[in-house]
């Protein structure tokens, strides 16, 4: 057996030994979360929301993407029809079935939230990971860049990016909201990885001659993921809210048939006197979902905090 290979074998053995004593942080976190009512509330809301998003096309009683003549003909400037046979919550301002759109809206809302968060996590991790792995001038350069992005108030940054597109689409909103979270994830991962660099197990691995790539991917990165996962959960909530704000400002998708809660809320402002439900129901849905993700994220943060291990 050659030298480096032997050392790697040894390093793996050390990993095993380190893992065998007591319970792992992840198992511990799960155990703690199951005992916390906050975590369970958050998880229940999140699971229900995801289920609704997946099943909504089958649950919706009407086609949410086409206006109905029966509804359209009863639309007046000062009245939008309420519940009537076949249409549980009546019409929206354009003659679409409001109830079906509310249901299907969950799907688009989830897509916006998840896509924006994943894009943010991906680019944030690339930047933060490079900075944390290499340190030195790479770190300085990348962190200067993220500092600048952080120096622009987040919604204004999203607005300036969305304004670059002459016509809003769903992706305009997703990209604009995602860019805002990139510097946050980058900073978080970098911070966690720098802490890992100075830790004993990385020092031990380095002393054993483990390759840098292995150290980064097997030792530093997995141990730095905790804060990123927590932040991603919280970002799911803020992405959905920020997307709603962009829609409210007229930077959202310009396709009138698109059913997304933020878009529905943003567009219904002019009809508040006529039919306040058009704004209130999507708003309540957004608030509930944002609360669910936030509760889940906060309890994850608490559960993963080693200070709380007992």
């Amino acid at each position: 057996m050659t030298g480096p290979k032997l050392m790697r074998r040894k390093a793996d053995r050390i990993d095993e030994l380190a893992g065998s004593g007591g319970t792992s942080l992840a198992a511990d976190a799960v155990r703690r979360m199951l005992r916390s009512p906050v975590a369970i509330t958050g998880a229940v809301i999140t699971v229900l929301f995801v289920l609704l998003a997946i099943l909504s096309p089958f649950l919706a009683p009407k086609n949410p993407f086409i206006p109905y003549d029966a509804l359209k003909n009863t639309l007046r400037p000062d009245s939008i029809p309420g519940p009537m046979p076949g249409f549980v919550l009546g019409s929206d301002q354009n003659g679409y079935d409001f109830f079906s759109r509310l249901l299907v809206g969950s799907q688009q809302t989830l897509i916006v939230g998840v896509c924006a968060t994943l894009i943010g996590v991906f680019f944030g991790m690339v930047i933060g990971g490079l900075a944390g792995a290499f340190g030195g001038w790479v770190d300085t350069l990348l962190m200067r860049f993220t500092d600048i992005l952080l120096a622009i108030p987040s919604l204004l940054l999203a607005i300036s990016i969305a304004a670059l597109f002459s016509h809003g689409t769903q992706w305009t909103v997703i990209v604009a909201v995602a860019v805002v979270s990139v510097p946050i994830f980058a900073r978080l991962l970098r911070g966690a990885m720098l802490a890992q660099r100075a830790s004993d197990h990385v020092l031990a691995a380095t002393a054993l001659g483990v390759r840098r790539r292995t150290i980064v991917f097997r030792h530093m990165l997995p141990n730095s993921m905790g804060p990123v996962i927590v932040q991603a959960t919280l970002t799911l909530a803020t992405s959905i809210i920020d997307a709603a704000a962009l829609s409210f400002l007229g930077l959202g998708d310009s396709d009138p048939s698109r059913a997304e809660w933020g878009l529905m809320l943003g567009r219904s402002q002019d009809y508040l006197d006529v039919k306040p439900e058009l704004a209130f129901y999507p708003a309540i849905a957004i608030i509930l979902v944002a609360l669910g993700f936030t509760l889940l994220g906060e309890s994850l943060r608490e559960a993963l905090d080693p200070k709380n291990r007992r």
Partner: protein, 334 residues
């Protein structure tokens, strides 16, 4: 201390420089290129060509950037596509309104947030604590513009006790000295005008204060809980100091350190929130100027406002850092 301030000021320069590069790049990415975006409907081949000359678009990119930097430093952001006035003049007119609103909101958030956070921490796990935590969660989960819409709907449209929009009733003929309507009323002795301005301020301030309020409660609570565990608090207790002295001098004072930093960071939230709140309440400030600019794709105006917002944010955080160093001498050493 002076060295710290100078060092910190110098650190802000590269940030601002890179920021200017970003805004410059942003202008070049605009649909139709910068000249057409800046001219809007007035874009004809002739005007585009002359605009290209003004912007120096026919010259090397470095020259273009330095020209841009020169124009920015002299405050020349061009004319608004909507009103035709210089953008800087527009901003000057609207500036006091936003300061009045966000100042009022920040004050509200601090005055309500710090005591609630403190009380919550002192009664940890009890009803008041749970209520405070729930409030902070809601403060973040409720979209700011929806809170504004809701407040307007309930208090202005349904109950009719507060005005729904604007800064002052149009029938009131008030003298404006400073542009801060409440202050103007007090200075000129037109108390009814001042009172009317206050009534107009209430709803937008509450809406705008919601997010900073939630953050301040949260940070205060966490900070007080942290400080209570510190050794120096135990020392103070064992010295036999009264609870009142410990709470005021040792716990609250130290807990307010992270809170003061957070308040600095709130300016960013306030600027962003102002865009939404001002739009909802038709408040004639910078936020509604921005949102009108978005509707009309008024790029010269957007450019100036974005740069201004970032500048204000950087400067406020600089001030916070400096004040932090004044409050806590340990910071200066690092």
């Amino acid at each position: 201390m002076l060295r710290f301030i100078i060092r910190r000021l110098l650190q802000a320069i590269p940030t601002l420089l890179v920021l200017s590069i970003l805004v410059f790049a942003w202008l070049r990415l605009l649909p139709g290129g910068p000249a057409e975006a800046l001219l809007g409907d007035k874009a004809t081949p002739a005007t585009v060509a002359s605009m290209n000359r003004v912007l120096g678009l026919d010259q090397p990119i470095f020259v273009q950037y330095f020209k841009f930097l020169g124009r920015t430093l002299t405050g020349d952001f061009g004319n608004s596509l909507t009103s035709g006035d210089p953008v800087l003049a527009e901003i000057g007119r609207r500036f006091p309104a936003t300061i009045e609103l966000s100042g009022c909101a920040l004050l509200l958030a601090i005055v309500c947030g710090i005591p609630l956070g403190y009380v919550a921490a002192r009664h940890r796990g009890r009803f008041i604590d749970n209520a405070a935590v729930m409030t902070t969660l809601l403060g973040v989960a409720v979209p700011v513009f929806f809170l504004g819409v809701l407040l307007k709907y309930v208090f202005a449209q349904k109950l009719g006790i507060l005005p729904p929009s604007g800064r002052q009733d149009v029938t009131i003929d008030a003298t404006h000295v400073t542009g801060f309507f409440v202050l103007d009323g007090l200075l000129t002795g037109e108390y009814d005008a001042a009172w009317d301005a206050v009534k107009h301020l209430i709803l937008p301030s509450i809406a705008l204060a919601s997010v900073p309020f939630a953050v301040i409660v949260r940070i205060t609570r966490a900070a007080v809980l942290d400080v209570r565990e510190e050794d120096f608090v135990r020392t103070a207790e064992s010295k036999g100091l009264t609870t009142k002295v410990i709470r005021r001098r040792h716990v609250l004072r130290n807990a307010l350190l992270p809170v003061s930093t957070t308040i600095g960071l709130q300016t960013g939230l306030l600027l962003a929130g102002a865009v939404l709140t001002e739009t909802v309440f038709n408040w004639q400030g910078l936020g509604s100027l921005l949102s009108e600019g978005i509707q009309r794709r008024d790029y010269p105006r957007l450019q100036a406002l974005l740069l201004l917002a970032a500048l204000v944010y950087v400067l406020v955080n600089l001030l916070v850092d400096i004040s932090y160093a004044i409050i806590d001498p340990r910071v200066r050493v690092r």
